[in-house]
């Protein structure tokens, strides 16, 4: 988003001036954060809002255009975003609750179940962002609010979009102790940088101490404080080398919930309650996975999954070719009773199998689109969705086949 034109500026200014500032939370060189309200909106049941201004040279302006489409239970709802010549502005809901930082400061380290629950929620939030190509880059205790609906990840002021091939980030900020090494200039940040931060967050919750403090390593190593299995998870997520970490937030979430099964029950019941929220992803198996989602998931997956998906895709291409060949044979081979019907049948089956193997099965393996989102990272859940899709496709095929049959009998081709 470039600086706005004159008419856009006037419109943005008017939007900006319509808000009534209740309280200034923070104000500095890079921007400000205020609690605002819209006069006249109270009757609509709207509560207080948070307006965050970020100076253009600090913010990543592309992020702001995508924030509205990143909707998740664990991200604050975005009311609107607009930009002014010197800054970009985002207005979002005010999330009620205490920050994770203040909770741990007050009550000390959290129990496993609670910590796992929070970590899983943050993984969900981060996954939604990654699907939009946004890397948060400041996942820290101050930016996690423990609200009635679960942990909510806030503060995307320094977030930036992932740019293929860029050698380094141009701005390096983040919370000391939670920011990944890449953020200090070693390489470009990507989804795995957020994974690093979530790992630090988990360690912080389990030990009650920030990773940069003196006693952190000792507390983490102490098996009376932190279960060795969880310590290993934290260490792997916080590996210096990005390729040694969990390659996606969804993977981290799965591992955490596996290690702390008690957290799963509460997680899932919350998830089912989210059916009422407007969630673009949803559990809809009737849709096809889009190429964008497929390639996005391909990029952030690890090696074995990539190979598996390519193998299945090639199988699909092969099967498709086979059926096209069969279809051509149906026409040319003499002595066939219903050549056209048979040909069409072959083509349909070929298309169905190709779609299944080239698009849907790789998507299931990689966790793209409807298979992903961290919620369905279990293999059985994904198989269930794939199965439902396959059955649906087969029934469509069956209907088409019968229609063809009737057509053929009537016209005798």
């Amino acid at each position: 988003m470039d600086a706005p034109t004159d008419t856009q500026l006037m419109a943005a200014l008017e939007k900006d001036e319509a808000y009534c500032v209740e309280h200034v939370l923070a104000s500095g060189e890079a921007g400000s954060t205020e609690v605002v309200s819209r006069p006249g909106a109270e009757h609509l049941g709207e509560g207080p809002l948070v307006r965050k201004r970020v100076k253009r040279d600090v913010a990543n302006v592309e992020v702001f255009s995508r924030l509205s489409s990143a909707a998740d239970k664990h991200l604050p709802r975005v009311v609107e975003t607009y930009d002014l010549p010197d800054q970009v502005v985002i207005v979002r809901e005010y999330v009620y609750g205490a920050s994770l930082a203040s909770c741990v400061a007050e009550a000390g380290r959290m129990g496993e179940t609670a910590a796992a629950h929070v970590a899983a929620d943050v993984c969900d939030a981060v996954t939604t962002l990654h699907e939009q190509g946004i890397v948060h880059r400041d996942v820290s205790p101050r930016n996690v609010i423990l609200s009635p609906r679960g942990a909510v990840l806030i503060d995307l002021g320094i977030a930036r979009t992932y740019v293929e091939g860029a050698p380094r980030d141009t701005t390096r900020l983040g919370t000391w102790g939670f920011a990944s090494p890449e953020q200090y200039g070693f390489a470009q940040t990507d989804g795995r940088s957020d994974v690093y931060s979530i790992g630090c967050l988990l360690g912080y919750m389990l030990t009650g101490v920030t990773p940069d403090a003196e006693g952190y390593a000792a507390a983490l190593a102490d098996s009376a404080v932190v279960r060795p299995e969880l310590r290993r998870i934290v260490e792997k997520a916080c590996s210096f080398e990005p390729s040694e970490r969990y390659q996606s937030a969804g993977a981290l979430r799965a591992v955490v919930l596996q290690a702390v099964p008690d957290a799963v029950a509460t997680s899932d019941s919350w998830t089912s309650g989210a059916a009422t929220l407007p969630n673009a992803r949803g559990d809809n198996y009737l849709t096809l996975v889009t190429p964008v989602q497929l390639f996005g998931a391909f990029r952030v997956s690890d090696g074995t999954r990539k190979l598996g998906s390519i193998a299945v895709a090639l199988l699909g291409v092969f099967l498709g070719a086979l059926f096209v060949l069969a279809a051509s044979q149906a026409i040319t081979f003499p002595g066939q009773q219903y050549p056209v019907t048979l040909m069409l049948l072959m083509l349909f089956i070929g298309a169905y199998l190709a779609l299944l193997c080239v698009v849907e099965a790789p998507a299931a393996i990689l966790g793209a689109g409807k298979y992903g989102g961290g919620r369905h990272s279990g293999a059985s859940a994904r198989l269930a969705i794939l199965g439902k899709w396959a059955l649906f496709g087969a029934s469509v095929l069956g209907v088409a086949f019968f229609a063809l049959l009737i057509f053929a009998v009537v016209l005798n081709v």
């Binding site: 004159d6 001036e17 002014l84």
Partner: protein, 153 residues
């Protein structure tokens, strides 16, 4: 001009006349400069102060002044400096009194309104009578002078 007090929007701590006396009484320039506190606000700060004092919103000021929105916004930001006519248009947008307008012009690095100049005289008249920028331009046109809008300075 001499003898002006701090303007309505909160002016300097010392009267400018006092400072002048001090300056004339000093033996060397350094003597004066060392003792006097010569803070002067930037144009952006002053414009913002006047805007708030008059209870106006930026969008209202931009509309009333007739200036290009981005340009006006940047004046408030301090990243661009208006020419003389633009500063006068801003003064109208802010609903300034004559004294405030003169200060604005001075801070913009332009010469103040001079009653001996025909065009300036018309502008001064309109300013003091609380006329809008548009009405002022009508008067200027009527009296055969260059209007503010269109005449970039």
């Amino acid at each position: 001009m001499s003898g002006e007090r701090g303007e309505t929007a909160g002016g300097p701590v010392r009267l400018t006349a006092e400072l002048l006396e001090q300056l004339l009484a000093s033996a060397t320039p350094e003597q004066y400069l060392a003792r006097a506190s010569l803070e002067e606000r930037s144009l952006a700060e002053y414009a913002e102060a006047v805007r708030e004092a008059h209870g106006l919103k930026k969008s209202q000021v931009i509309r009333a002044s007739g200036l290009n929105p981005t340009f006006c916004y940047q004046i408030f930001e301090g990243t661009r400096r208006p020419g003389r006519d633009s500063a006068i248009m801003l003064a109208f947008g802010l609903g300034c009194s004559l004294v405030e307008a003169q200060r604005l012009l001075r801070l913009a690095g332009a010469s103040e309104l001079w009653s001996r100049n025909r065009r300036d005289a018309i502008i001064i008249f309109c300013l003091e009578h609380g006329m809008s920028r548009a009405q002022t331009d009508d008067e200027l046109w009527r009296l055969g002078e260059k209007t503010l809008l269109d005449g970039e300075a």
